[in-house]
C-alpha cells in the first residue's frame, strides 16, 4: 500500500512537470529544488552565476524544534579567501538573515533565526575568484516564528535590559572565538502594532581600534541574538553597533571569566 506521502509526492512531481519544464538554467541546478531560488539569486546576489558547493557548510537541525530559535552555523572557511557571506531563509516572509564581511576573521558565523515555515536556510559566500559559492539545507518547521511577538515585548521590563551584552572570548594560538549575546527584542514588524525593531549593524574592533570584522543583521535573527565569530587572536575585542532606531550596542570583552562559587 502506498502512503499518503508517496501519493502527494507523485502528485507534486506530476504538477511540477506540467508547469515548470525548464527549471534551472544556470550551470548547476539547485540541490534543494526550491521554488524561490531564482528570486533569491536575482534579489540578493545581483543575478550572478553561482556554484552550489558543499564547502559552504550550513549546520542546522533537520527539524526546527523551536520556530523562534533555530540554531545555525555557517562555515565557508574551506573556500579559502571569502570577502562576504550572505545568509537567507527563502520561504520566510523576510528572506535576508544577515551579511558578514569577515575582513580579518574566519568566514564563520553562528547565530539563531526565526522561521515562519519549513524553508531552505542558505549561505552564499563570495570567494577570492569573484564567484558566489552557495550551500544550505532545508529546515522543517511547524512555523509561526516570524509572526509571533517577541517574549521580551510581552514583558514590561524588557527595555531596562535592552542593549545589555554578555559574552566570552576563547583563544587558541591563531584565533580568538567570540561568543556574545545582546538583549534585544529583534521585532520583525510582522506582528500587528509592533514595528520592525532590530539590531542592524555590528563592528568588531581590537584594542587599537583596528576593524576585525563587520556584520549586518536583519529581522529574522532571533530575539536576544547569540552570535559566534572566529576573529584573529586578540586579548580583548570591542563590539560597536546600533539597532534600526539608533540605540547603540557597545561592549568590550576581556579574556578569562568570573569564577562562581558552587
Amino acid at each position: 500500500m502506498k502512503s499518503i506521502g508517496q501519493h502527494l509526492f507523485l502528485s507534486c512531481v506530476f504538477l511540477c512537470c506540467l508547469v515548470n519544464p525548464s527549471y534551472a538554467q544556470q550551470g548547476q541546478t539547485d540541490p534543494l529544488n526550491s521554488p524561490m531560488w531564482e528570486d533569491m539569486r536575482r534579489s540578493l546576489l545581483g543575478g550572478a552565476a553561482v556554484v552550489f558547493d558543499d564547502r559552504v557548510q550550513v549546520l542546522a537541525p533537520v527539524d526546527a524544534e523551536d520556530s523562534m530559535n533555530v540554531p545555525v552555523l555557517v562555515d565557508a572557511s574551506a573556500l579559502g579567501e571569502v570577502s562576504k557571506i550572505v545568509v537567507f531563509a527563502e520561504l520566510n516572509p523576510i528572506h535576508k538573515v544577515l551579511e558578514l564581511e569577515p575582513l580579518q576573521a574566519k568566514p564563520i558565523i553562528g547565530f539563531r533565526i526565526k522561521v515562519q515555515q519549513a524553508t531552505p536556510v542558505r549561505a552564499a559566500a563570495l570567494a577570492g575568484d569573484g564567484r558566489w559559492y552557495v550551500g544550505g539545507r532545508i529546515v522543517d518547521a511547524a512555523g509561526g516564528g516570524c509572526t509571533l511577538p517577541s517574549i521580551g515585548s510581552e514583558n514590561s521590563d524588557w527595555a531596562s535590559r535592552m542593549g545589555e551584552v554578555a559574552g566570552r572570548l576563547w583563544s587558541n594560538q591563531d584565533s580568538t572565538r567570540l561568543r556574545m549575546r545582546v538583549m534585544h527584542p529583534m521585532d520583525t514588524g510582522l506582528v500587528p502594532g509592533i514595528p520592525a525593531f532590530y539590531i542592524d549593524h555590528l563592528e568588531f574592533h581590537d584594542a587599537n581600534g583596528e576593524i576585525l570584522s563587520r556584520l549586518s543583521l536583519h529581522e529574522p535573527v532571533s530575539e536576544n541574538p547569540v552570535l559566534t565569530l572566529d576573529l584573529p587572536r586578540r586579548d580583548s575585542v570591542t563590539v560597536v553597533g546600533a539597532d534600526n532606531n539608533g540605540n547603540p550596542v557597545n561592549a568590550r570583552f576581556l579574556p578569562g571569566k568570573h569564577e562562581v562559587e558552587k
Binding site: 502528485s11 551584552v165 559574552g167
Partner: protein, 314 residues
C-alpha cells in the same frame, strides 16, 4: 477534452481517497500481572505510519471496574483502547488517569468523557494552557490519524497518597522532572509500577518540559520503590532497575555533554552533531531526540557560561 486543472484535481483525489476514514491501531493488550494490561507503543517518533502510537498505555481490571492509565495520542486511539478493554471485561470504566500533559498520553481522553479523568493539578493546568498547541502539532506529525481529535481537560485533581479501588491499593506519587508534574502509580496488589515518562526503556528520553536536576531526583525516588514490574512510558516492561539506570545514564550524559560544549565555546549549531558512546547512540530515535534536547536545554546552559564572561559596557 477535460480542462487540465480538472484532470490534475481528479488525479490527486484518486490517490488520496483511500486515506480517508478511521485508522486502525491494531491495539493488543498484554497481560503482565493478574488483571493488569499494557498496550505497548513502538519506539519511534510520531509519524504518518504509526499514527502517534509510540506510547505505553495501561489498565487494571479491579473487582469494581477498570482503572485506565493514559489515553493515547488521538481520538481513534482512545476509542480503540476502550473497545480493546471491552473485549477483555464487561466491568465499567471507573476512572482514567493522565500521568502528565504530553499529547501522546492525553489526546485519547475524548473516548472517556463519560468517566472522571484525573491528573495532578500541574498537569490539568498544563493541558488547559498547551493542549491545543499539542493537538495542532500532532495533526502535522500524524496526519489523518488525528481526525476529529480535540483536547479534553481532566475533570478531577489527583491528591498524592493511597487510594483503595476494587481490592487494589494504589499509591499515587507526585514527581517532577520529565514535566513539571509527573504522576507515577504503584499498585501494591500486584507490585506493578506505572512509571510513565519518568522512565524510558530502549528509547531516547524526551525533554521539551524537562528539568534534568529534578528528573534525576525523581529517578532516585522510583529506584527506592518496591516494585515487581516497571512499565515505562516508552519501551518494554522490565522487572529490574535496568530502565531506571538507562534513563539516568542518558540524562547525565546529555547534561555533561551540553555543559562541556558551552564551556568550550561551541555554538548551538555545532553542538547538534552528537559525540556519544555506543550505550547512548543505540537508543531508539537518538539522533532526533538529541537534536531536540539541544534546542530545549542548551540556551539556558549557554547563557550561564556567557554571563560569566568579563565584559565592560559604558
Amino acid at each position: 477534452m477535460l480542462p487540465l486543472r480538472i484532470v490534475i484535481i481528479l488525479y490527486c483525489l484518486c490517490f488520496l481517497a483511500p486515506a480517508w476514514g478511521a485508522k486502525e491501531y491494531g491495539l493488543k493488550p498484554l497481560e503482565i500481572a493478574p488483571g493488569t494490561y499494557v498496550l505497548l507503543g513502538v519506539n519511534e517518533h510520531f509519524n504518518f505510519s504509526n499514527g502517534g502510537n509510540i506510547v505505553n498505555v495501561g489498565f487494571i481490571v479491579t473487582d469494581d471496574g477498570v482503572i485506565v492509565i493514559d489515553s493515547g495520542p488521538s481520538r481513534f486511539y482512545g476509542e480503540q483502547l476502550r473497545a480493546a478493554i471491552g473485549r477483555i471485561t464487561d466491568r465499567p470504566i471507573l476512572k482514567l488517569f493522565n500521568t502528565h500533559l504530553h499529547p501522546d498520553h492525553i489526546l485519547g481522553n475524548q473516548a472517556f468523557e463519560d468517566v472522571p479523568i484525573a491528573a495532578l493539578a500541574g498537569t490539568v493546568e498544563g493541558i488547559r494552557e498547551q493542549g491545543e498547541l499539542f493537538n495542532d502539532s500532532m495533526y502535522r506529525l500524524a496526519g489523518a490519524w488525528m481526525a476529529g481529535t480535540r483536547v479534553v481537560v481532566p475533570t478531577e485533581i489527583v491528591k498524592p497518597g493511597f487510594v483503595e479501588i476494587g481490592g487494589h491499593r494504589l499509591e499515587l506519587i507526585e514527581l517532577a522532572g520529565h514535566s513539571h508534574a509527573d504522576l507515577v502509580i504503584l499498585d501494591h496488589a500486584t507490585g506493578v509500577l506505572f512509571a510513565a515518562d519518568v522512565v524510558f526503556h530502549g528509547r531516547t528520553p524526551t525533554t521539551p518540559h524537562a528539568d534534568v536536576g529534578q528528573w534525576l531526583q525523581a529517578l532516585d525516588t522510583i529506584a527506592g520503590l518496591d516494585f515487581k514490574l516497571l512499565v515505562p512510558g516508552h519501551g518494554s516492561v522490565v522487572t529490574d532497575a535496568g530502565a531506571i539506570a538507562q534513563t539516568r545514564n542518558y540524562l547525565q550524559w546529555l547534561t555533561t555533554r551540553l555543559n562541556k560544549a558551552a564551556e568550550q565555546g561551541m555554538s548551538m549549531a555545532e553542538v547538534l552533531q552528537p559525540d556519544a558512546p555506543p550505550s547512548i547512540k543505540e537508543l531508539a530515535v537518538f539522533h532526533e531526540e538529541y537534536q531536540r534536547s539541544v534546542v530545549h536545554l542548551f540556551p539556558e546552559i549557554e547563557a550561564k557560561v556567557l554571563e560569566r564572561g568579563r565584559v565592560v559596557q559604558e
